[in-house]
Symmetry: C2
Subunit: 342 residues, 2 copies
Amino acid sequence: MAVCRALETPDDIAADVATILVAADRRGIPSHGTARLPSYVALIDAGVMDARARPAIDAGRGAFVRFDAGNGWGHHAGRIAIDWAIESARTTGIALASAHNANHYGIAGWYSLRAAGAGMIGLSMTNTTGVVAPTRSSVGLIGTNPIAIAAPAGHRAPFSLDMATSTVPRGKIEVAERRGTPIPLGWAIDADGRPTTDPSAALVGALMPLGGREETAGYKGYGLALAVDVLTGVLAGATFGKRIAGLFDTNAPSDLGQLFLVIDPGAIGDAAAFGERLGDYLDGLTAAPMAPDAPGRVLVPGEPEVAAEAASRTAGVAVDPEHLAGLAALADRFGIDRLRPR
Amino acid sequence: MAVCRALETPDDIAADVATILVAADRRGIPSHGTARLPSYVALIDAGVMDARARPAIDAGRGAFVRFDAGNGWGHHAGRIAIDWAIESARTTGIALASAHNANHYGIAGWYSLRAAGAGMIGLSMTNTTGVVAPTRSSVGLIGTNPIAIAAPAGHRAPFSLDMATSTVPRGKIEVAERRGTPIPLGWAIDADGRPTTDPSAALVGALMPLGGREETAGYKGYGLALAVDVLTGVLAGATFGKRIAGLFDTNAPSDLGQLFLVIDPGAIGDAAAFGERLGDYLDGLTAAPMAPDAPGRVLVPGEPEVAAEAASRTAGVAVDPEHLAGLAALADRFGIDRLRPR
């Protein structure tokens, strides 16, 4: 909040940014949380992101509109867009908000969970920088383009799938390099386009799509990543594919495309009964017989994040030294007391 | 057509069934084509599928309705539902038809391509019998639940992703068993729940979700398969998960859930420009530098099926002996001349 205010971001926008960044930290996804704040500030410093912009609907018909996110904070534009879709779905049963001229909006799952919190099914997707190699390509051309789907699940926490369409994020390969351990085949290719188990070779190559190599159906993950780009960048008339600059590239705006889709189960039946059906289904899955080499029982999408959130309430959020130093530097620069390490 | 007529299926319904079954054969997906006809007939013979049923809207609000497919031919109900969504999207920009009480509808991609043919983005999904093991489970509990997404691509054939959310279909493992070749790790688990490369062991075990083992993010494919069930069976109030009987089980109706979603890019801009953007994007992908071990250039979703369709126009459709015998038996039973082998 205080950092945003110092950048002349209005309070209501700053509140969305803070809420969504902190949610990522609490849900155990630090790569998309407050650790990113210095990168956002660098974009604003460079004049390639507008700290004060407000999204506005610039086209649409019926239950489908497009927002111009105004090249402002992605979190705020996303919150406005999903709230529009939630409110619209109350009348139209389903509603779709597409966004262009958008920036990195943090965890995709926050927006889909917003809909689940309103008793509806939410979908959110964004395109991102092209670091994933299509099957048979030797170079990265498509983003890790995440798909997030959430739905209320009655007596249980909401169903919440929030997944990149690459096998793993780049960060997992960086961890393997630091530890000096090999990576599984199917995570990445090297600079020549060959599947590799060497994390250092992978980091100068490209990520592989979900499914890995062609023989294990990596073309499906590639197809999904591409479908996300079709439903976000191509549909919204934003940038897509290899044309997207790095999300934190200070040379040019990202102009990302995003999708916010909401379905109201109450439009075709009893919304509470929908949640109970889903809750019962998930109960059955968590009670499934375990494979002999499984490290634990079957989980359902969203469970690890709910556990991390619960743990953060008692134990707080673990912050690594680089993360802390980044926030401390911002605190010093803007004269904010609360961000200083204690 | 003639087989359907003999079963007292009205002509318009029979035309949809024939069109969609033959489309599968032409597009190189014989597992979902006319080879299935004897199985459908067995369902009708057993009284668990209604050869004359017509789908009807039984609930809905705004741009979202539910069809009761009436336990009739899945192909016809699907065609009616996607056409409803296409027509509705012209007014509402986006439209969703959910279906319950449905049967196997052939290739999911036929319905999404129907929307692409109308200049729109189409999505189609269905749930199926639980043969895929969730990550950490030793048994199959979720269907191969396909996701089909299609969109017009300007000067190119439409983008058309039509994929099961398992790594491979069961049929690929059966082929490996017949050939006596091992299968890649990530396709299946054995009866004890251990990943296996032995096709015979796999066939008494369960399929693995896209991504394969946990270390290669199989939980994402599991999450997607589950999301499809949430958006089909759970949403529509149909059967879901392990409760679904075999699709061609003659003991009870399938009561599948299906989703037909259409988005009109023309609602937020120039629909032709959308197609051109996508066509240019796909052009760029097919021109990507090839990985050294690639068997050919980068393909885009739908290309193999378009090639198979073109080949079928000149060379006809290859039909295996079992397939032919099944159709010949129907021909004999119903006194139909055209189906007899020549």
